[in-house]
């Protein structure tokens, strides 16, 4: 498997991103507490993590350890606790406490998100699902002027994930693995600088999961920065082949003992 040159040289095992590229995203002392009735359930208690440009980070953790929560915070789909000193800096800009407009723009252009349960829109065809991110990102005129290029890119992405022949199908007509590949293509439509994937293989059988991970490796090889979350050691092992493995335990981040780089 090919690996991206810039990450090969990076020492594995560190919590903080390292290397000359610098962190594209750096989360500092993230706190997230869910309130269940009167009980506070702290899930993240000061997680710090940095991801360098072009890096492939796998986050491993038991079920319920807060991996999804962390990823949601990194993707600005959720907000950390107030007044907890949490900070997420993306490309030099603080996201915690940023305006809704800033966060919307961050989600549109800077970050791509792959969900465990795909979350494709059932009414849209495969190619429309992929284009959705672009439809959201650009106004009517902006979209119209980029139409041709965007259509090309969507087809290209779908071809790359092996679904070039299923453009007009509805998600319901696809297998789980195929849906996940559509979701990945969708996450990439606007060329995000950071790809976040939450258990992308969690719902798939091992063989299918492997094809998805191969796809990630390829993307990484093409220079894509990404963070993949999983509870599965084997998946983490495979991901670790390309980058760094971190372990989330007790609401804190630590380098995986077995992690390699």
């Amino acid at each position: 498997m090919s690996t991206h040159p810039s990450t090969i040289s990076m020492p594995a095992g560190g919590v903080e991103a390292s290397g000359g590229g610098g962190a594209i995203i750096r989360a500092e002392s993230l706190h997230k507490t869910y309130r269940l009735g009167r009980v506070d359930v702290p899930v993240l208690r000061g997680v710090s993590v940095g991801v360098a440009r072009g890096e492939f980070v796998a986050i491993l953790g038991a079920s319920g350890s807060g991996k999804s929560t962390l990823l949601h915070l990194l993707g600005a789909l959720d907000r950390p606790d107030r007044r907890s000193g949490s900070s997420i800096v993306f490309d030099g800009r603080e996201l915690v406490g940023a305006s809704a407009g800033v966060l919307d723009r961050y989600r549109r252009f800077d970050v791509g998100f792959v969900f465990q349960f795909y979350h494709l829109l059932p009414e849209l065809s495969v190619v429309e699902n992929v284009l959705l991110g672009a439809m959201v990102a650009y106004g009517r005129l902006g979209y119209a002027s980029r139409r041709r290029a965007l259509d090309e890119r969507a087809k290209e992405l779908l071809a790359r994930v092996g679904l070039g022949h299923r453009l007009r199908h509805r998600p319901a007509e696809l297998s789980g693995g195929e849906r996940q590949r559509v979701a990945i293509a969708r996450a990439l439509i606007n060329g995000p600088r950071l790809l976040l994937a939450d258990e992308p293989t969690g719902n798939l059988d091992r063989a299918t999961g492997r094809t998805i991970l191969d796809l990630f490796s390829e993307l990484h090889a093409g220079g894509q920065t990404m963070v993949v979350v999983t509870h599965d050691e084997a998946t983490a092992e495979r991901a670790a082949g390309a980058g760094r493995v971190l372990r989330l335990t007790d609401g804190r981040m630590e380098p995986a003992p077995g992690g390699s780089g």
């Binding site: 949601h72 993707g75 789909l77 959720d78 907000r79 809704a100 407009g101 919307d104 723009r105 961050y106 989600r107 549109r108 252009f109 998100f113 969900f115 979350h119 494709l120 829109l121 059932p122 009414e123 849209l124 065809s125 190619v127 429309e128 284009l131 959705l132 991110g133 439809m135 959201v136 990102a137 650009y138 106004g139 009517r140 005129l141 979209y143 119209a144 139409r147 259509d151 087809k155 453009l167 007009r168 969708r186």
Partner: protein
């Protein structure tokens, strides 16, 4: 390569660069509309709600309007009244009234009560109105209220053409009967002479029976004669053979009651206003005849014996000493009432104040001989029919209340449907938000969706109600024929047709409210969903 499917979704509308409007909204609206049964149900719900409200409004509005206007039929716009004794110089008053620019016509009349004796010897207490056919017709809808007339077209429900007025055999006499009704006279036994006659309301005599098809036909009656109980079936057509005896109570110009006067008159025709109270309790009589019988015609002025021995001047110019009641001059003819009709669409209150103005001048010209302006009654047709109009207004209020309940129910129905549709799609909202769609952007998807459904439903509802309202009588008839279901039995309502009116303005208001309700119904849950953090929307079950 397959041509891009989404080509249609990116139609560029020049200049539509609104910050909120994005391609995905149009695409999703379209897809949500075509891929689910729910929006169809929602559109049908909007259609039924708006359609139902418009139909109810049209029917009730038409009904109430018809009812109120039928109260106006034999009254005109304004009534001047000085009951019992009446007032003189009414010819001058009529002339002055008709000279006023706001007044179209005026007609003198006498209104009194009478115990009448019908051909089957029944006695009925009715309101007698003495009128001149010609002037009364100019002020009121008198001519069109005359029931017996030849007609060419059967009433809508009269499919078997059983209405006697259609009968070619009696059309000849109906033409004459209509003429008789117009003049309130009948031809006398001697050639050329015309005798005063009476035109009772169609329900007065009981000799005309109303059929569910909406017409009246002559009906035989069982007559009891005397206390011995002798019976006889009397089958007559009132305008041909009927006579009515009026027992009248004359009142002199000083307001004193004189001896009861009885007069037997032939029936010229019968009138039908559609207002049961009026049709059952009113009879019209030729004015001159009534004046004579009530001693309100031009007569010798007499003085009471308080001035015995005084010199009295007679109308013929002779003089004599008075002995008891003495004629001292001409007592001009009197009427109790003048009916006034405003010009064009003049508002009744405005006409009433014009009438008051004219009456002041009139009273000034005849000071001491006519009631002073402050005491005479000048009322609009609304005042005159206050009981009935009050009832109708209460009914309207009730209908409006029921109406708002219906509307609120409709709005809640739409809201509930949209709530469930949005709830079902909350995950999509989460996805859109995760892809960077703004809150207003996703909320707009739903408002737009609601608007489209509202417009479809509202237009369909408007079209549906238009079809129903304009064909309501046919539909009603069909229901009656197919299922024996006569919701609107003219025997009860006294309208031969359902008086529904489709009013474009009202319908547009209702349809627009349907659209707004749909948009609001969609907006409320959409705003709620769009305010969620994307993660919560995604986790929403």
């Amino acid at each position: 390569m397959i041509p891009p499917r989404s080509a249609g979704s990116a139609r560029v509308v020049a200049g539509s660069g609104a910050t909120v409007a994005r391609v995905y909204q149009a695409l999703l609206t379209r897809r949500y509309l075509t891929s689910k049964i729910m929006p169809l149900l929602a559109a049908v719900a909007v259609m039924l709600c708006t359609g139902m409200v418009i139909v109810v409004w049209s029917v009730m509005g038409g009904f109430l309007n018809h009812l109120v206007n039928s109260g106006r039929v034999l009254i005109g716009d304004v009534v001047i009244e000085w009951p019992n004794a009446g007032f003189p110089y009414y010819g001058d008053l009529v002339k002055r009234l008709e000279a006023h620019p706001m007044i179209e016509a005026a007609a003198p009349a006498i209104v009194t009560y009478s115990l009448i004796v019908l051909p089957d010897n029944r006695k009925e207490m009715v309101l007698i109105r003495g009128i001149e056919g010609e002037s009364f017709a100019r002020v009121t809808g008198y001519e069109s209220s005359l029931w017996w007339r030849p007609i060419d077209e059967p009433l809508r429900k009269d499919a078997k053409r059983e209405d006697p007025r259609l009968d070619a055999g009696i059309k000849g006499i109906l033409t004459e009967v209509l003429e008789n009704g117009r003049s309130l006279t009948v031809p006398g036994p001697v050639g050329g002479e015309r005798l005063p006659a009476v035109v009772p309301g169609i329900e007065v005599s009981g000799f005309a029976a109303r059929r569910s098809e909406g017409f009246f036909e002559p009906r035989p009656r069982l007559v009891q004669r005397g206390s011995s109980g002798g019976e006889e079936v009397l089958s007559i057509f009132l305008p041909r053979q009927g006579t009515v005896t009026l027992n009248l109570v004359p009142v002199d110009s000083q307001g004193r009651i004189l001896d009861i006067a009885s007069v037997t008159l032939r029936v010229a025709n019968e009138f039908h206003t559609g207002l049961y109270e009026m049709d059952k309790k009113t009879a019209l009589v030729e004015l001159g005849e009534l004046q004579r019988r009530l001693k309100m015609d031009r007569a010798t002025r007499i003085v009471p014996p308080e001035r015995p021995g005084g010199v009295v001047e007679r109308p013929d110019g002779t003089e004599s000493f008075s002995e008891g009641f003495e004629g001292i001059g001409v007592e001009p003819a009197r009427v109790t009432t003048v009916y006034v009709r405003g010009r064009g669409e003049a508002n009744a209150e405005a006409v009433a104040s014009a009438v008051g103005e004219v009456y002041r001048e009139f009273a000034a010209a005849h000071r001491g001989e006519v009631p002073p302006p402050g005491t005479i009654d000048i009322r609009t047709w609304r005042d005159q029919n206050r009981t009935m109009i009050a009832a109708v207004e209460k009914e309207t209020g009730l209908v409006l209340i029921l109406f708002s309940f219906i509307s609120v129910t409709a709005v809640f129905l739409v809201l509930a449907i949209f709530w469930s549709m949005v709830a079902e799609k909350t995950k999509d909202i989460g996805v859109l938000r995760a892809l960077g769609a703004s809150r207003t952007g996703v909320a707009w998807v739903w408002v737009r969706y609601g608007l489209v459904i509202g417009v479809i439903g509202g237009l369909a509802g408007g079209a549906m109600s238009y079809a129903i309202v304009t064909n309501i009588n046919d539909i009603h008839e069909w229901l009656g024929e197919a299922f024996g279901l006569y919701i609107w039995d003219p025997r009860i309502y006294y309208f031969s047709e359902i008086p529904a009116r489709f009013k474009w303005l009202d319908a547009s208001v209702v349809a627009a409210s349907g659209v707004v309700s749909s948009a609001v119904g969609a907006l409320v849950p959409a705003v709620r969903a769009s305010r969620m953090d994307p993660v919560r929307a995604l986790r929403f079950e």
